[in-house]
């Protein structure tokens, strides 16, 4: 077992009207004092008593319509958020990758950014220098590795970032739409490397809208809807279920619905 998610509830508040400065507060206080003092808020219930496990060697594709909370759930598993209730047991290191077009310091060179990134992604690793050298070589940035990242296109930043994050395996690897932004040629090259990384990592939680990738990479699929897992099974069957479900949902109800509307 690599991960055990036990009856977690993850809720976040969506302010219906964000007031973040004095002027807005003052204006709304004059217009509607009750609503300003006791504002309405909606809650998105990303996970409702959600439970599942990931075993050694499993590569799970997480599917769900936009805004259903896949990224929030992944961030919760990666330890960025705390669930409102329930337990997340991690039996080993967890690495989440949520953004691949990230120039941390635009003034610094690609190599310097790679170093910074490597220290964030592989904290405590002894061969950081080796990771950086390998990543620079793999990214094929050539002399651009010594140029400031502010001169990079989004695709170049993605190349650099993907090269660093795909350098070493881990216990549980969470990949959230990682291939977006890379150009076609690099995507093919990096997907081989990421596939190798996935196979050598203990387990994988993979979020993607690319059904082909899910089919090729995953051994199991989960479909998330309204905070619950409505499908758990074989990738082929899961994709078929999701595609039909997605059409059904779009046809009968709005995609984006909050769960609770209450005065707080």
């Amino acid at each position: 077992m690599i991960l055990e998610v036990e009856k977690i509830n993850l809720v976040y508040r969506i302010p219906l009207q964000r007031r973040t400065n004095f002027r807005d507060v003052f204006t709304s206080l004059v217009q509607d004092p009750m609503d300003t003092l006791f504002p309405n808020a909606d809650y998105l219930h990303v996970a409702k008593d959600l439970s599942f496990t990931i075993s050694e060697g499993e590569r799970i594709g997480l599917l769900g319509v936009n805004g259903v909370g896949k990224t929030s759930l992944c961030r919760c598993i990666a330890g960025l958020f705390l669930p409102k209730s329930g337990k997340i047991k991690r039996y080993g290191p967890v690495r989440g990758v949520f953004n691949t077009a990230l120039g941390i310091q635009p003034e610094l060179t690609g190599r310097e950014n790679a170093e910074l990134l490597a220290h964030f992604i592989y904290p405590g690793t002894k061969d950081i220098d080796k990771i950086i050298d390998e990543a620079i070589e793999f990214s094929e940035l050539g002399q651009f590795a010594e140029a400031p990242v502010k001169l990079y296109s989004n695709g170049m930043q993605t190349r650099l970032c993907l090269s660093v994050i795909s350098a070493r395996p881990t216990g549980l690897l969470i990949l959230d739409e990682v291939f977006d932004g890379a150009d076609m040629f690099f995507r093919e090259k990096v997907s081989h490397r990421v596939l190798r990384l996935m196979k050598s990592s203990g387990g994988v939680l993979f979020v993607s809208h690319g059904m082909e990738q899910i089919k090729r990479v995953c051994t199991r699929v989960l479909v998330l809807h309204r905070g619950q897992i409505i499908f758990d099974g074989e990738p082929q069957e899961g994709i078929h279920f999701f595609e039909n479900f997605d059409r059904g949902v779009k046809g009968t109800e709005g995609l984006f619905q909050f769960d609770g509307h209450q005065r707080i």
């Binding site: 976040y12 949520f98 953004n99 003034e107 610094l108 964030f120």
Partner: protein, 255 residues
């Protein structure tokens, strides 16, 4: 142990990156940072001593021992308050502690402070009398000063996520607070019935034992000034931590 080592490595790498990034394109580079406290000190020492003729013995030393930590605190608070908000994309992407970014900001300013401290204080201390026991004990108030500032900047940086006016209010409040804090004048200049204002000013509480070490070291005076500084230095990060824990999820959703 391993966690602290990782934390310190990340802070070191980020601080070096910030310093490189900031000074790479400038001609004077690092000089700009020490220039501000040096100019402030130069102008204020002349005006308060020669124009206003403040009757404070060893005034150059007196001013340096209060003004330099004040500038360090103010710069750290002003630069650190937007830190969590500015690094939101990183915090949402990698499981790093926000304390890495905040501590790195403090380290960045602390390097500037040490540079200004050495440039100003060494010649002034050479000209005017500084006691050796005071200098030897200096790391103690300095430690609690840094701890106190860490708590303050952590709390303000969290608040800034929800309330974007925080940094503007802070700048305004600090400019007023400068005149209300006994930095360029001694606390004895404040009428006795109003001295409680300095007594509840956390910035002054943190600076007071530091100043005593450099300017007028006397052990009883030092210990009685150190006790409140220790209290502020410990309570400030605890309070910030509790507030952070309470707001942790909301912070990520508001970044």
């Amino acid at each position: 142990m391993q966690t602290s080592k990782i934390f310190l490595t990340q802070v070191r790498v980020l601080t070096i990156a910030n310093l490189k990034s900031r000074y790479r394109k400038t001609v004077a580079g690092f000089l700009w940072v020490v220039l501000n406290p040096l100019l402030m000190y130069g102008v204020q020492s002349q005006i308060f001593k020669k124009f206003l003729k403040l009757g404070v013995p060893n005034y150059y030393l007196f001013l340096a021992s209060g003004l330099l930590p004040w500038i360090f605190i103010v710069q750290t608070l002003e630069m650190g308050t937007p830190t969590i908000l500015h690094n939101g994309h990183l915090l949402k992407s990698y499981p790093t502690s926000p304390l890495v970014y905040l501590t790195s900001q403090i380290a960045d300013n602390f390097i500037n402070f040490i540079a200004a401290f050495l440039i100003v204080l060494v010649p002034v201390a050479y000209m005017e009398k500084v006691t050796i026991p005071g200098l030897l004990l200096l790391p103690i108030p300095l430690f609690f000063l840094i701890l106190g500032v860490l708590g303050m900047v952590w709390f303000l940086a969290t608040l800034q996520v929800f309330f974007r006016d925080t940094n503007f209010i802070l700048r305004f409040a600090l400019s007023i607070l400068y005149f209300m804090t006994p930095i360029f004048y001694p606390v004895s200049y404040i009428p006795e019935n109003l001295r409680w204002i300095a007594g509840i000013n956390p910035i002054y509480i943190l600076i007071a034992p530091f100043r005593i070490c450099i300017y007028s070291f006397e052990i009883h005076q030092f210990t009685s000034a150190l006790v409140p500084a220790v209290v502020v230095g410990i309570l400030s990060p605890i309070f910030a931590y509790l507030y952070w824990q309470r707001k942790k999820n909301d912070i990520y959703f508001n970044l």
